[in-house]
Symmetry: C2
Subunit: 345 residues, 2 copies
DNA sequence: GTGAAAGCGCTAACAC
DNA sequence: GTGTTAGCGCTTTCAC
């Protein structure tokens, strides 16, 4: 393992000059630059990043917190974030909190110990009061989450509107008994969607029935379960908002086993617009989230914060959601003329 | 940001003693230990990891190379690897090579610059000759890949056997014209499976028809395409080995649009046993890979290599694959009595 | 048991 | 344009 000193010696120059060449600083003559490059080549020299990090107080690494990778929504987020990081010569450390507040706090030490330059929270389990103190060590950016108490950049989607358009669509299809599923973990996403769902119901003169609310539901298996709960009810919903394509797929898959006709016996709407929506029969009506754009923006903002040192300002970047109508809510797959407004702000 | 020096001063002790306390070294009196802990607490002190890394020449971080996160197989691998890393107080950096040999080489510099202690290759695009030199900088472990030229630990699954049992199953169901799909990227996985497929065909007195081999096929959309290719053929295969549940799902989904009866008109077998296999109708027959066990073993071996400094020894850890029979290959979903051997080594 | 001091490899004042 | 030098914050001999 050769060091900058070795290179300097071999080139007959000082460490400073070598360092200047490495970091592309001006004021180095072409001759010496060449000399340095030759020496580096010959020694197979590469700067040691721990030493560099220690000196410049930057690691060029950011951490992203998610509950778990296997959730397709978060896989997609990680995929895009990694590419956005790579484009800026940054590394991405993945931290799975597994919905544990304690694990989250533990991972936040990465910021405190300066192992990462910043943290992107794509989920958070702790109250903001507990997270806030870490801001003294580096920037924290919310991505896909919103927290009113947080004075940091927040890049997210208008989930209230998402819940609203999804529910409004179900109502327009003639449903008046509408079920509702939610992940149940502490998250602004679920809360916001529920708000939108309620608003749509209210505008239609319907009410949110707690008996039709299924909580702690977030994967295929849970979806199957939900179907059985519905099946066992005396009064059943005729449509259900699931908040996730996987839950929707689970419900539909199980319903078909019992020869229910989707959407006639039960209309089902997903969320995320994952690949599975076009595999399940009927295809799943869903709400598309611009994950790629959101992730790209989050990394852009993070990069900027790292270099600006101003971490404690609230900045809002809101991305739009879009309803995608498919067969799981309408018998005829054609999108109808809709009266749903473009925004409900 | 307080340093070890600040703690030492506040406690009225030397840096050495503080360091000993931090690292749980022996020979520190209980009194001083308490003093140090109090000082650390009071200052909110946490050791700086760059400084520590520079000094001990370890970062407690490993990188994992995958083509991309969105592939469910790799999502699962990342998920498990991250947990295995966290259990050992290691961080995981995700590197998406996107099937690019150049990107892969670039990411390998993480090892050279000592930004990571080791690299887990879950895919590799470059010839081993090009990767091998990086071994002088730290351990490299193959996970899910096998390379005969590589003298490093390899944790993988018997893909030859996987291709074999899948194909043998199709043959047992009475198919004699069997199609074959492969991802097509430089990978031992595809090559091994093809070998297994060919061996099964040979044993059954059938031959591998190149016209039924679809290459560069690895997602749902490709699956749909494959269906159309098959549909356009004069002589069509009656069954197809896909090498991926997503491709299988794509084929089945598209076939159903054209009212083909799966498995009667076309039997389809997937690979990986992802959640989608139980959502698609009929459910997809597939080959289960013990990803969790494999990932856990890979991290265990990596951890050991990092601490042993012996990187250049070939070690083989092979995990078994298992056929899971569902409706996409047999009209009757019950698993039949099979004559497929437990191993073909 | 404890402390002084060297040094991991690098960058950036500052001097020339 | 180039070199000297002082640390970044930590661990670890070595001496006491």
């Amino acid at each position: 393992m050769s060091t900058i000193e070795d290179v300097a010696k071999l080139a007959g120059l000082s460490r400073t000059t070598v360092s200047r060449v490495i970091n592309n600083h001006p004021y180095v003559s072409a001759t010496k630059k060449k000399l340095v490059h030759e020496a580096m080549e010959q020694l197979g020299y590469v700067p040691n990043s721990s030493a560099r990090s220690l000196r410049i107080q930057k690691t060029e690494t950011v951490a992203v917190f998610i509950p778990r990778v296997m959730n397709p929504f978060f896989s997609q987020l990680i995929e895009t974030l990694e590419m956005a990081a790579a484009a800026r010569n940054y590394q991405l450390i993945v931290c799975q909190t597994q919905y544990s507040a304690k694990k989250e706090l533990n991972y936040l030490n990465l910021l405190k110990t300066k192992q990462v330059d910043g943290v992107i929270l794509a989920s958070h389990e702790n109250d903001w009061e507990l997270i806030e103190p870490y801001l003294q060590y580096g920037p924290i950016v919310l991505c896909n989450e919103f927290d009113n108490k947080a004075n940091v950049p927040m890049i997210y989607q208008d989930q209230v509107y998402g819940g609203y358009i999804a529910t409004m669509h179900l109502i327009e299809q003639g449903n008046s008994l509408i079920g509702y599923c939610t992940g149940g973990h502490y998250s602004s996403v679920g809360t916001a969607r529920e708000k939108g769902v309620k608003q749509a119901l209210k505008e239609a003169g319907l009410c949110f029935e707690e008996k039709f609310a299924f909580r702690n539901v977030y994967n295929i298996e849970h979806g199957r379960q939900v179907f059985h709960w519905i099946k066992g009810m005396n009064e059943r919903p005729t449509a259900i908002f699931t908040g996730s394509d996987e839950v929707a797929a689970g419900i539909i898959s199980e319903a078909k086993k019992y020869r229910w006709n989707i959407p006639v016996d039960l209309a089902v709407i997903g969320f995320d617009n994952q690949a599975i929506t076009e595999i399940v029969e009927p295809n799943i009506t869903t709400v598309h989230q611009p994950v790629t754009e959101m992730a790209e923006k989050a990394m852009e903002v993070m990069y900027e914060k790292i270099n600006s040192k101003d971490y404690k300002t609230k900045e809002i970047y809101q991305f739009p959601l879009k309803l995608i109508v498919r067969g799981s809510t309408v018998s005829n797959n054609l999108e109808k003329c809709s009266s749903i407004p473009k925004s409900i702000s």
